[in-house]
């Protein structure tokens, strides 16, 4: 086979695996979120469908597929239909550059645990993630509903107020790593401490920005249920609604994966190197656990934090979010980048 065909086949296989992983994680997260939040609220969450209610996502999926997809009279039909697919497509595309584990050798092939490994991986990811807002804005505008419209406006206001700080927090990590290539960023963290330790401020800004990016509580303003009914997806029903839902959850996975890669050392194990002798077995065990599991564990930690926040915090008001984005996060992020740049250039 020619290298071109090989690369194509490899890409298709990996994309299929990643797609399967993401869709399954979406299904698992819907049930996990309901269970976790349920427990935090002194209730059980779904426990009727299948053992421990584990088949609930299947039942939900079937229900949403079978439902009539209502198209209200006043919508702009082509855009209304396309908008949710934009959201879900963009959220799936973003995962392509996430390195899950180090590359390994299988026979004559060197295979990476990523679909693609461009040298500007971070830029690609950032660009694609920002496109996600189009799905929301177009969907809200084409719905012909005032509540949807307000949701769309809020999401535009939100994106301009947090995206800058969000981007700058990534810049500080890139400066330390000296590369825009995501596997490189992870590799650097194997000899430097994880960036969360050197860049606590950068990480905090990234985490806040990431929650805003995924429209999750307390920044779920575009779909604030108690204010805007359901915001941008008020008029969506059936599977189109499910697509928006799916996009939100897959975005959460992507942002968590990105946070893991940039700040928590990706697939790297916890290895402080200062375990006393009698704890050597623990050290050995941590090193023995495969990188994929480390990666998944770290991502799950972030996903759990998302659910925790949702169960705890009230929603912020959107003018306060803008105030916070422009007057607090942005100056802090700029300061952080300046200090990091100074430090890197002095070395």
């Amino acid at each position: 086979m020619s290298p071109v065909v090989e690369a194509f086949v490899e890409g298709v296989i990996k994309a299929a695996i990643a797609l399967g992983f993401l869709l399954n994680s979406f299904a698992i997260m819907t049930i996990m979120e309901r269970k976790v939040v349920g427990r935090m609220q002194q209730r059980y969450g779904p426990n009727r469908v299948g053992p421990f209610g584990l088949l609930q996502p299947l039942a939900d999926g079937v229900k949403l597929l079978m439902k009539e997809q209502i198209i209200p009279a006043r919508v702009n039909v082509p855009i209304y239909i396309v908008a949710p697919t934009i959201s879900v497509m963009v959220s799936l595309m973003a995962f392509a550059v996430i390195p899950v584990a180090p590359a390994f050798t299988a026979g004559p092939y060197r295979v990476g645990w990523w679909i693609s490994n461009p040298n500007i991986g971070i830029l690609y990811l950032f660009a694609v993630a920002s496109l996600g807002v189009y799905g929301i804005v177009l969907g809200s505008w084409s719905s012909g509903n005032k509540y949807s419209l307000l949701g769309g406006l809020r999401s535009t206001a939100q994106i301009i107020s947090y995206e800058l700080a969000f981007g700058l927090s990534i810049v500080s990590a890139i400066l330390l790593a000296g590369s825009l290539n995501l596997p490189e960023v992870v590799k650097v963290q194997s000899h430097l401490p994880w960036f969360i330790l050197i860049q606590p401020l950068g990480f905090a800004i990234f985490a806040i920005g990431g929650i805003a990016e995924t429209n999750r509580a307390p920044f779920d303003l575009p779909e604030a249920e108690q204010e805007l009914i359901a915001g941008y997806h008020t008029e969506y029903s059936g599977f189109r609604f499910a697509l928006y839902f799916m996009a939100e959850y897959i975005n959460m996975v992507t942002i968590s994966a990105l946070a893991t890669t940039l700040f928590l050392g990706g697939w790297l194990p916890i290895n402080f190197g200062w375990f006393p002798g009698w704890l050597q077995w623990l050290d050995n065990f941590l090193l023995w656990v495969p990188g994929v599991l480390w990666f998944l564990a770290k991502v799950s930690f972030f996903l759990f934090a998302y659910m925790w926040l949702r169960a705890t915090l009230p929603r912020i008001r959107y003018d306060r979010l803008m105030w916070f984005g422009w007057k607090v996060l942005l100056p802090l992020a700029v300061l952080n980048v300046l200090i990091t740049a100074l430090y890197v250039s002095l070395q």
Partner: protein, 405 residues
């Protein structure tokens, strides 16, 4: 609530000039309008220019229906007006009729009534806190509050057989005496509840996001609050000392030692703090009532007003006749009219009852505190955002069943 509100088709005033204002119909089926309130918002972006509340979607005709029922039967209707603090509604009506009849109930009855009213205030405030927090996105508080409310409903069920529509207060006394397991259950609640309030406060009171959403939102000045006829926590949060339990005691409230929490600014946060403190004060009253509960009969001994004891029916012809007459013909207060006010969970609940000497009220009317508190909504929501609107509606703690009647 002018005539313009009834015709939503007409554009609100001020929109005729070429402006960018948007009219947004909020409710009656909106997650945060607490039932079936409808608001016509005129928006400039997300800033509110004008609010017009539109009520009547829950009109039940309870006041009119009451004219066709005997006095004893009307109690069941009062339960269904302010269904979150329904025992205060019962109390108001029962006190009004007792005033008409010119009777005085035994001490024990007064204490039991006060005890239940304070439990009811807590339960009503719990619903308010839960839904208010839910409106602002803190959804766990909602479920925590309902967990505690459940215990109060259990106590009510244990005593009266019904969880919400108790009809436990009767003219001339009560439905029955307290059951023996009542006291331990309430003591258990008394011991547990303060920690639960601490728990809510931990989640909200010093929470940066919560304070940002509620402080300096929905400001209602002292003068405005009085002018609009607000009562209850809405008025007290604006700094006005107005609590009928203190200023105009009824049903034995003069026996209890408690404080009346007052606010300073009159914003949503003050209303929140006021109600939280009120819950603690109510708890004090419940404790005092339980400690000092006098012994004695749980209803008066007037066979024209209260039915005879059940065991007499088989042996006494006279009792049987009284029983029959009371339930077929009802009791007949002398002609006249009375007005009795009680301090409900939302404010002053006034009961106006007119008797023409028959067994049915000629007219009865309730001064619903929610109605007046709702009227202050436009005054509170000057220059607010849509998100604030939700906080302001929540802070007025309206019950549409009480407003529409």
């Amino acid at each position: 609530m002018t005539s313009e509100v009834q015709t939503p088709e007409t554009e609100p005033a001020g929109v005729h000039e070429p402006s960018e204002y948007m009219t947004l119909n909020m409710g009656p089926q909106h997650p945060s309008t607490h039932g079936v309130l409808r608001l016509l918002l005129t928006l400039d972006g997300e800033t509110i220019v004008d609010v017009k509340p539109d009520i009547g979607y829950l009109h039940t005709g309870i006041e009119k229906n009451g004219e066709k029922l005997k006095y004893q039967q009307v109690i069941t209707l009062t339960d269904r007006m302010g269904y979150l603090d329904n025992m205060m509604d019962e109390l108001g009506f029962v006190l009004a009729v007792e005033k008409l009849l010119g009777i005085e109930v035994p001490e024990r009855v007064k204490w039991i009534r006060a005890l239940f009213c304070e439990l009811e205030r807590i339960s009503s405030h719990l619903v308010w806190l839960g839904t208010h927090a839910l409106d602002l996105g803190a959804m766990s508080v909602f479920l925590y509050c309902f967990r505690e409310r459940e215990k109060i409903l259990d106590i009510k069920e244990m005593t009266s057989g019904v969880r919400m529509m108790t009809s436990y207060f009767r003219i001339g006394g009560l439905m029955a005496d307290l059951p023996p397991e009542f006291e331990p259950r309430v003591r258990e609640f008394l011991a547990d509840f303060p920690h639960r309030v601490d728990e809510y406060e931990e989640l909200l009171t010093q929470n940066e996001l919560w304070m940002e959403r509620t402080e300096n939102v929905g400001l209602l000045s002292r003068e405005d609050a009085i002018a609009w006829g607000c009562t209850g926590p809405v008025l007290r949060a604006s700094g006005v000392f107005a609590d009928l339990r203190k200023t105009n005691p009824y049903s034995g409230y003069e026996n209890f030692d408690f404080e009346v929490p007052l606010g300073t600014h009159g914003d949503v946060y003050d209303r929140y703090l006021c109600r939280i403190r009120e819950m603690r004060e109510s708890l004090k009253i419940v404790g005092q009532a339980l400690d000092g509960m006098p012994d004695g009969p749980w209803r008066i001994d007037d066979r024209k007003i209260v039915p005879p004891p059940k065991d007499e029916l088989g042996t006494s012809m006279e009792s049987l006749i009284h029983h029959f007459k009371l339930f077929t013909e009802g009791l007949r207060p002398p002609p006249g009219e009375v007005y009795q006010v009680v301090e409900g969970a939302r404010g002053q609940q006034g009961w106006y009852v007119v008797s023409d000497g028959s067994a049915k009220p000629y007219r009865f009317h309730m001064r619903a505190p929610s109605f007046y508190n709702l009227e202050a909504l436009p005054a509170m929501s000057k220059d607010a955002l849509v998100a604030d609107m939700v906080a302001i509606i929540g802070s007025t703690d309206i019950v549409l069943g009480e407003i529409d009647r």
